[in-house]
């Protein structure tokens, strides 16, 4: 890897330029729709699988543990908090980092290595606006939406365990769960994917644009993009939980 400071600085300036480009016309709507379609629908099955199995696995582990204390009635409550505040955003973030970030970096990197970015520029088209902005905006829309899907699927998965394994009544599971859908939890739950979408888009696009060294370079950039965006999602998740939750919990 390149010198970390230089890399970070490059990413920082790149992010600034991408944000500025969002507000400079033209805006490429068709590209955005393409992105939403390809990355949204394309990620859906992955998200559904992730949500279903993670939700059930989680619920199963908790149901057993809670039953020992005679506290299995708390399952709905625990599911609400752990899925909406932590697991849903993190799992979705990681899945998007794996699938979408890799795709973005590889595509832009390949375009760079075959001079297509230069060709685009030579046509008077700014690759920042044409490629980065639709991907950034696409993720800003998609990651929160996909997170909500993950949450719903995971909570339904939890219900399956509650109803058929832990033998908790359906109405009780859902009512205790919905009880915990308070502002603070929902705020954290939606703020996280929103922040992740920026991180993933910036890293993935930056890695594509800065890739060097032909096909092997594109491969390396793609790997780094996935690793870096996944780790950043986890780190950012921790800091949001740590500080933002601390800050707002007094108000909920």
């Amino acid at each position: 890897m390149k010198n970390f400071a230089a890399e970070f600085q490059g990413l920082f300036f790149f992010s600034g330029r991408s944000l500025a480009a969002v507000f400079r016309p033209p805006f490429y709507w068709r590209e955005l729709i393409d992105q939403l379609y390809v990355n949204g629908l394309g990620s859906l099955w992955l998200i559904v699988l992730t949500g279903a199995f993670a939700g059930q696995g989680f619920a199963l582990a908790f149901a057993n543990e809670l039953a020992e204390f005679g506290a299995k009635d708390y399952l709905g409550r625990i599911m609400a908090i752990s899925i909406i505040r932590e697991l849903g955003p993190v799992l979705t973030g990681l899945m998007v980092a794996a699938r979408v970030a890799a795709g973005i970096t590889a595509e832009i990197g390949a375009m760079k290595s075959s001079n297509q970015l230069d060709a685009m520029t030579a046509f008077g088209i700014d690759p920042m606006r044409k490629l980065v902005v639709p991907r950034l905006v696409g993720l800003i829309i998609l990651v929160p939406v996909l997170t909500i899907v993950t949450n719903v699927i995971a909570l339904v998965g939890g219900w399956v365990i509650a109803a058929f394994v832990a033998k908790i009544s359906t109405t009780f599971y859902w009512s205790t769960l919905i009880d915990r859908l308070v502002f603070g939890n929902l705020f954290i739950g939606i703020m996280k994917p929103f922040v992740f979408s920026f991180i993933i888009a910036f890293i993935a696009c930056y890695k594509g644009f800065s890739s060097e060294g032909g096909t092997r370079g594109v491969g390396r950039a793609t790997t780094e993009s996935v690793v870096l965006s996944s780790i950043s999602v986890l780190i950012m998740n921790f800091f949001i939980t740590r500080f933002v939750w601390q800050a707002i919990r007094g108000f909920v």
Partner: protein, 260 residues
């Protein structure tokens, strides 16, 4: 109008071009020749503002690329057609979308209008539009891809400058002939300034009277073909030596085929 003023450019520490100056007027064509790796493609990149010189200025129609805003630079680029050495086709777009790229991006023409123009242009460069228009670039042969690249560069609404980076390398003689005629036609009819980078002295002879030779990072020659042939500069003579025979052959025909 194209102007380079005392341009020095290098990648990192390595100097590629040193103190290059030349001007190419409206409706003027010039050939750039020079050994492989001498910096010919780099000159074209400088003219498009894809790279910036470390010293000196690049001016397009009097505008200094070092000083103009991003917006103006985009406008300048729109007025320049460029055929990249490796084609640089958009590999996830069809041939039709590649050729119509400028029109799709910068005009409000309807899809039908653009498609008509694209088909006409494909025919112009000697491709069977029905066959190739919906194919992806990777499905075409190298020579066909090159023609698509040329078609794409030509199908801009109003290029004032055309830059061709080895447009005929790897083409068969028929296609070469076709492309050269096209380049000439465009230069003459539309009053475009043209720069062609080539290793083919026959092409060069066909296309322009003005020759620029880059050697060892410097512009060692700027003049007509006759002056080139008769130059007694040792570097020019050394560069020209391998071309002598074909030069004489071409000259002995005594005409530029485009004007037949």
């Amino acid at each position: 109008m194209i102007e380079l003023r005392n341009v020095t450019f290098g990648y990192d520490e390595r100097v590629i071009l040193e103190d290059i100056s030349f001007t190419i007027g409206e409706s003027e064509s010039a050939i750039i020749m020079g050994p492989s790796g001498s910096g010919k493609s780099t000159i074209l990149r400088l003219l498009l503002g894809l790279n910036y010189p470390q010293r000196g200025d690049v001016l397009i129609d009097g505008m200094n690329l070092n000083q103009i805003s991003d917006r103006d630079l985009e406008e300048v680029r729109k007025s320049i057609g460029m055929v990249f050495q490796d084609g640089a086709l958009f590999d996830s777009l069809t041939v039709g979308e590649n050729v119509g790229y400028y029109l799709f991006e910068h005009t409000k023409q309807s899809t039908e209008e653009i498609e008509t123009a694209v088909r006409e242009m494909l025919g112009f460069v000697g491709l069977d539009a029905d066959q190739v228009v919906d194919q992806l670039p990777e499905q075409l042969s190298g020579g066909m891809q090159r023609r698509v690249a040329i078609a794409r560069a030509l199908l801009a609404t109003n290029p004032k400058i055309m830059l061709y980076d080895e447009p005929t390398t790897g083409l068969d003689p028929q296609a070469t002939d076709l492309i050269l005629r096209l380049v000439n036609k465009l230069t003459e009819e539309k009053g475009i300034s043209t720069i062609v980078v080539t290793h083919q002295i026959s092409d060069a002879f066909f296309l322009a009277d003005r020759f620029l030779v880059i050697f060892g990072g410097r512009l060692i020659f700027d003049g007509t073909i006759a002056e080139l042939r008769d130059s007694d500069q040792p570097q020019v003579r050394a560069f020209l030596a391998p071309y002598r025979q074909s030069l004489e052959l071409v000259e002995s025909k005594g005409f530029r085929p485009a004007q037949q």
